[in-house]
Amino acid sequence: MELRPAGYFALAAMIDGPLHGYAIMRRARELSDGRVRLSTGSLYSVLERAIGESLVVAGDWYLEGGRQRRDYALTPAGRTALQHESERMAQAARAVNVRLRATAGVQAA
């Protein structure tokens, strides 16, 4: 299952523990240095698909400051998917960096 940037950072937001929807939105923004801004619609689309793929589990509803919340947590399969995606991106970045460094002298000349 391919992870797109919004899904990747939404899942990454839950690495440290279960979070509710709004907390996931804020954490994903922090982790991506503001580059990924999840909207409510895209967050819940991502969470529904992730729950369908058993990458995330949803807890019970509770009230916090008059707001209805539910915590979402990564499953072992979710952590594995996240790890595979980060390794894939790291490998892709390494391959490009190696070529960029190797050709830096040629370009400069």
Binding site: M1, L3, L11, T40, Y44
Partner: protein
């Protein structure tokens, strides 16, 4: 209008089940995410509405084509009944023909049972109605030379629809809002039944065209109404072709249009099947 009220309206874009399950949670998250900024609220509301429509569309794509067509047959039958009621209530017909009492009871009974969610009862009433002799009345519309198979073409869809209502899966009866599409249909039917400005057949066709337009507008979200109207057009086309072949109508005027109409349902079903397949592939490739 408060933000919460606007949010509740936006949530209506989601299917009923999703709304009942996590509507409150999504609304509260949206209000948190957009607090303090009207622009952020507009963005969040639009995003939530779009996600809801996409979820509705993907729910439709998960249904098999057979289930879609079966449900469309049931809806086509309800449309057919409403059109028959329109014809029977039309002033021109009222002046020289009154339906037998049993039909006057059974036709509204079908519609009421359907609206209240009692599909099996609607199906039983419908089959009783068909066997109670409505075909005799419509047989006379085709003239004495009208072949039996003209009538069979016209009655095939409601017959299949009523049988599917009786034997098919019956979802639990819930709020009447789920059958809200019947309201514009009823309004159109009553309008054409009470106004004598149109002939009987043109009035019915205008009503069906209006409903088809609604079905086409909803096609990306739920194609069942579009298929249902296409089924009624096909029945009309096959009926007119058969009548034309039996020389009860002027062939030159009717044949080309009738043949086009007869292809409406096969085209609608084939396009919906292709669209569902495309959506399933897109959903698989889309990732998370």
């Amino acid at each position: 209008m408060t933000r919460e009220r606007i949010g509740r309206l936006v949530l209506r874009c989601f299917p009923h089940q999703a709304r009942a399950q996590r509507g409150r949670e999504m609304l509260d998250t949206m209000l948190d995410a957009s607090s303090g900024s009207t622009r952020a609220f507009a963005f969040e509301a639009a995003s939530l509405g779009f996600a809801g429509l996409r979820e509705r569309a993907s729910a439709g794509a998960k249904m098999s084509t057979a289930s879609l067509v079966a449900e469309a047959f049931r809806r086509a039958t309800v449309i057919w009944i409403a059109l028959v009621l329109t014809v029977l209530l039309h002033p021109r017909l009222q002046s020289h023909w009154r339906p037998p009492h049993v039909l006057a009871l059974l036709i509204p009974a079908v519609l009421i049972c359907w609206v209240l969610g009692y599909r099996r009862a609607a199906g039983v009433c419908g089959i009783a109605m068909l066997t109670a002799g409505l075909e005799r009345r419509f047989g006379s519309l085709g003239g004495p030379g009208s072949p039996l198979w003209c009538l069979l073409a016209w009655y095939a869809i409601p017959f299949v629809g009523f049988v599917l209502m009786v034997v098919g899966h019956s979802p639990p009866a819930r709020a009447l809002r789920g059958r809200a599409w019947l309201l514009p249909l009823s309004a159109i039917a009553l309008l054409f039944a009470s106004v004598d400005a149109f002939g009987i057949l043109p009035g019915v066709l205008i009503g069906l065209s209006a409903l088809t337009t609604v079905g086409l507008l909803l096609i990306a979200i739920d194609p069942r109404l579009w298929i249902a109207t296409a089924l009624v057009w096909t029945a009309t086309g096959v009926y007119l072709s058969a009548m034309s072949a039996a020389q009860a109508l002027d062939q030159a005027q009717v044949t080309d249009v009738a043949i086009l109409l007869a292809w409406a349902a096969p085209t609608a079903i084939a396009l919906t099947h292709a669209q569902a397949g495309w959506r399933r592939r897109a959903a698989r490739q889309r990732g998370i």
